[in-house]
Symmetry: C2
Subunit: 358 residues, 2 copies
């Protein structure tokens, strides 16, 4: 097992990464002062992993809260159900919430923990690669609103993250690849040597080699933790983690939510952002080729869905309207060197979208 | 106008207290970066004061959100309506929420601001004495759950509090007195000289003398701000602000919510807590008499409703169960010297409840 730390003063917390961690009582114990815990998970994960986590929480009074699988569960009704179940179990302020599942469960359970009696402790136990390398770290929690994803939520840091790569055994291939998109994002946006490592190890990762997975999760978490520690509430550097996401969000919403997995949309979005960086003269052609190649080898899309550039621009403008600011593009000044750039103009964006298709 | 400051580092904020402040653009302007604001108020306050606040926000794009009056509005449906209206108005992260009303509006609007896009700025414009001296300061926001008051919420500090004593002109007498209960609490629990001042000025306050009201609000806010600055999340000293509240909550829930105003229940609760302190030998008989006298002169109840001591103990035990801890009693070691004491035993508590009735 390897352990990192997210440095956030009094709210600092460890990320444990390794194999067969879910049942390890020593990882939960420091956070079980009150002796009671609610495990929030979904109907897919529960039969596979719930018993392990229960073993890890041995001695505690446990409440199981099982929600539906999928993004459509990430709304008011499920949040209310989680809170109702916690109240029915008479959980006090000293109780612990354990989020066992992917990003949806982590966001839901984390948000419930944030607002239950004005905040109780929670632990993230991510069971998808996407959640292990991205959503479980950093304290963003939320539910969706009819007018947008993650629109209602809170910053609420977990007390610990337990990332067990053995839990990925049951993950469908498509979701594994979608998780790799965020791993690649961390390399391409923030760390050239890690990108180089990924180029040499992408087949091992796809074959679920546990040593390779442990390293990829660890390095991703290290990179994200450093940024979150410096900019918890996304006023600056944290925006760099959104590399590929401005295009990605437009792809997701244009294709209809659920048609493209988030990671797939981010993969194509990274290609568009790279092509845009090339057009603005800040990235070399050879770097774009390296990024394309890595994304393709990970089994991820390098082009967006059948949407015209005009439609993509429209979708990005909706995003802009909702955020009342400018469209934010995270561009590359080299592999591992992402930078925030002001609106580069519609023409360059249009060209980049077309180029990504080729 | 007088201005205090709640010292909370990067989240420090001013409290402005005075006469005719609601329409003063200079008080809102520093917080209107984004140029758009949502005013949340209720159907009673809106016709009286909304136009003034709109004048204060001149130049901003304003969304009015008017909710029902009363404690029963403080739940999920109203919270959802507020958030829906904010999304419908396309308010961005740089928008400002203005809470115009009493404690219910402040708690609802503050909580909506806490979770809208993971948190936007808000300003408290309290229009009841209770809200001006207590609930608008300190960042506690919440809604009720079927199983308890304020059970779902967040700590979210306002950017400013604007307490206009002229807004109290339309406050019913009974609510003015209920607000005075919390003013008296601040004196009796934390500040003997302020208690002395209250003994000399209680008639002026009941007559709504604006100079007296301004001083009472200011001193209450000063006392509360000092404690909140030292203990934002109620891990220590902040509990002292709950003087009278352990008994008070039992009275409120035993009498049926709404039958007793919160301040009325706190008033009788303070007498019980004083009698308990006397029985434990830490408070003098003469001090209990002073407190009784002041509460009575403020037109507030010195005895609880027709509940047996056994029923009161039961109700406090429910509170205990919900909080998974011990019943917390804030007792007095003298006027102005509140202290947290471990469970003093059921016999002394029973005696204190009976004594308060006499």
């Amino acid at each position: 097992m390897e352990s990192l730390r997210v440095e956030l003063g009094s709210r600092a917390y460890p990320i444990h990464i390794g194999v067969d961690l879910l049942a390890r009582a020593d990882l939960y114990k420091p956070h079980l002062d009150g002796g009671s815990a609610a495990i929030v998970t979904n109907e897919i994960v529960a039969p596979l992993l719930l018993s392990k986590v229960k073993r890890g929480l041995q001695g505690a009074r446990i409440t199981e809260i099982i929600v539906a699988d999928g993004e459509q569960a990430k709304g008011w009704p499920t949040l209310e159900k989680i809170l109702d179940d916690m109240f029915a179990a008479r959980l006090g302020r000293d109780s612990l919430v354990v989020a066992l599942g992917g990003g949806v469960v982590g966001d839901l359970a984390g948000f419930a923990a944030a607002i239950y009696q004005r905040g109780v402790d929670f632990i993230q136990v991510p069971t998808t690669l996407l959640a292990q390398v991205d959503s479980s770290v950093g304290g963003k929690t939320a539910i969706n609103h009819a007018l947008g994803k993650n629109m209602i939520g809170a910053f609420h840091q977990p007390r610990a993250v337990i990332a067990d790569v053995a839990a990925l055994d049951s993950l469908p291939d498509r979701e594994l690849r979608a998780g790799l998109a965020e791993v690649i994002k961390h390399g391409v946006a923030l760390d050239e040597p890690f990108t180089h490592w990924l180029e040499g190890n992408i087949e091992k990762l796809l074959a679920r080699d546990r040593t390779a997975l442990t390293y990829a999760v660890r390095r991703s978490c290290e990179l994200k933790a450093a940024i979150v520690g410096a900019d918890e509430r996304e006023s600056g550097a944290r925006a760099l983690l959104n590399f590929g996401h401005t295009f990605g969000h437009a792809i997701e919403s244009g294709a209809g939510y659920g048609a493209w997995l988030h990671g797939e949309a981010v993969a194509a979005g990274m290609i568009m952002a790279s092509e845009l960086s090339l057009r603005l003269g800040i990235l070399q052609k050879g770097d774009v080729a390296r990024i394309r190649d890595l994304v393709r080898r990970a089994g991820l899309p390098v082009a967006g869905p059948a949407l015209t550039p005009e439609r993509m621009l429209e979708l990005m403008a909706v995003d802009k309207k909702a955020a009342k600011g400018k469209v934010r593009f995270i561009l590359l000044e080299g592999i591992g060197r992402a930078a925030l750039r002001a609106d580069p103009g519609a023409d360059a964006v249009r060209e980049a979208i077309v180029a990504a298709l080729q």
